[in-house]
Amino acid sequence: MFFEVSGITKSYGGLVANSDISLEFEEGAIVGLIGPNGAGKSTLFKTISGYVVPDRGRIAFRGAQISGLAPHRVCKAGIACTFQDAKSFPKLEMFETILVGAYCRHGNKRRASARAGEIIDFVGLGGKESQMTERLNMFDRKKVELAAALATEPELLLLDELFAGCTPTEVVELLKLLKKANETLGVTLFIIEHVLKVIMSACQKVVVLDYGEVLDIGTPDEIVRSKKVVAAYLGEDYDASQYK
């Protein structure tokens, strides 16, 4: 199996953020992770990327155990992530930000720079290389964060609410970019998202969390028809067809 989470449990004091979570998916997929606020989505992502050490359970990537590894080792193993609170290097030129990611696979500056250049073209940020990241607008900064993650040449990319705060046009553009990354770079995507349009139109598989537990797993169509999901997250008057 490409990626497998089995029995991950994490509690903070009395609060159980993740309880016995198990899921798996194949290489090349786009998988969504949805659920109400506080359902444990971000905790699960942080556990996968090494920022949180789980109390119990195991995460395997291409058969090798990655749970318990430090974040930079998880990245080296081929799993990159972006953060819910959109982190950046404010005082670095955009190019150098991407370069940090490219150095993950290429120790040589010339090769790393070439890689960074390719990724910048890929996300369409060409021409803004020497701008300081803090001077870029929010949407470009999101693309920078995505590009830096892609520059580490991940096989699996975790995106924590990348689309939050985007206008509908920006959502479409970013979505195109992600599909392109999935198709041409072969990156498997695991996406936390509240923008349901993204989940419904891009994902082949959706995992629903509620109160730290897996509520349901299925295709988008199955999920929107699932009574428990509708009750816990989507709401009774949810009309799936509007997001097609």
Binding site: H72, C75, F83, F89, L92
Partner: protein, 317 residues
């Protein structure tokens, strides 16, 4: 390396003329030349120390408030080895090695202790070395300090050229580091450690590297200090006063920049001149006041240092 040095010089033509003037300067025969050379030597030492501090604090974002520890340890080890009547090279290498060990510890601490807490730890470390050098009389002769054997004496002109060469080397080394993978890793850690980690940056490795590079540079200045001053006493090397001056040079010039600390030298020259004019009489407190006012003005109006006057709105990193 040669090509890089040439590129660096060509990219910074403004430094060529001052460099040539400095090289020719000792050949001028005037009465106050000894004073001028001494003034420049002291400035060079502080520029080099500021460059060393710059690696840790300016690039890597690790606010070292005990930087005199590296410098003082370098000076003490150097003079101890010289007192064994060994070659100067051994003394310099021994000092650098001792500093690498200390820097490894500081680097390891910086992985666990952040921001102001790291600053306090480094401050305490310098104080610890101060006390050690004062109390461990059998080895350090305590407050009386250690004296360099006569055979290692050098004339002022030679010492001036060594200081000039060291400064040029340091500025060039900082330039190379900033342009290299190491420099990118350092500034990434300063800007956002969590993001750096997620991009595969090994935080412990690069923080320790920064600490070691910085400490070895400070150690070299410590070794030079011994050759120049010919003696070492605890208050001259291990006090916060030294650390503060290092930080002021970096701040006034522009921390986190390659050329900033060079400009910061003006504050040392100013300090020495004012003190020279006023002497130690009833105005002995005045230099400190002037010093403080200049620092406050720079921080208020040029938070990125004097260097920002020259580069306008361009990047600060």
């Amino acid at each position: 390396m040669g090509g890089k040095a040439k590129d660096f010089l060509m990219g910074n033509k403004a430094v060529i003329v001052p460099l040539l003037i400095l090289i020719a300067l000792p050949l001028v025969q005037i009465d106050i030349m000894a004073f001028i050379l001494n003034l420049l030597i002291v400035s060079f030492m502080y520029v080099c120390l500021a460059q060393s501090w710059n690696i840790l604090a300016g690039f890597c974002g690790l606010l070292s408030m005990g930087h005199c520890a590296f410098f003082g340890l370098g000076a003490y080890i150097t003079i101890m080895v010289l007192n064994l009547h060994l070659n100067i090279v051994w003394a310099i290498l021994a000092a650098a090695a001792a500093n690498m060990a200390l820097a490894y510890i500081v680097g390891a601490i910086s992985v666990r202790v952040k921001d102001i807490f790291f600053a306090m730890v480094t401050l305490a470390l310098a104080q610890l070395l101060y006390n050690l050098s004062m109390q461990w009389v059998e080895v350090t002769r305590g407050p009386r300090g250690l004296i360099m054997p006569q055979i290692y004496m050098m004339d002022r002109q030679t010492l001036f050229y060594i200081a000039l060469a060291m400064t040029a080397l340091f500025v060039f080394a900082i330039h190379v580091i900033r342009e290299s993978r190491m420099g990118t890793m350092f500034v990434a850690l300063r800007e956002n450690e969590d993001l750096a980690k997620s991009l595969g940056v090994n935080v412990a490795k690069w923080k320790i590297a920064a600490s070691v590079v910085s400490a070895v540079m400070a150690s070299l200045v410590g070794s030079y200090y011994v050759l120049y001053i010919r003696s070492v006493q605890p208050p001259a090397v291990f006090t916060f006063n030294v650390t503060m001056k290092i930080m002021i040079v970096a701040f006034v010039g522009g921390k986190g920049t390659v050329k900033g600390p060079l400009l910061g030298a003006v504050i040392i020259i100013l300090d020495e001149l004012i003190r020279g004019w006023l002497g130690g009489g009833r105005y002995s407190g005045l230099p400190g006041i002037i010093y403080g006012i200049i620092l406050a003005l720079v921080i208020l109006f040029l938070p990125n240092g004097l260097i920002s006057i020259f580069r306008g709105r361009r990047k600060a990193a």
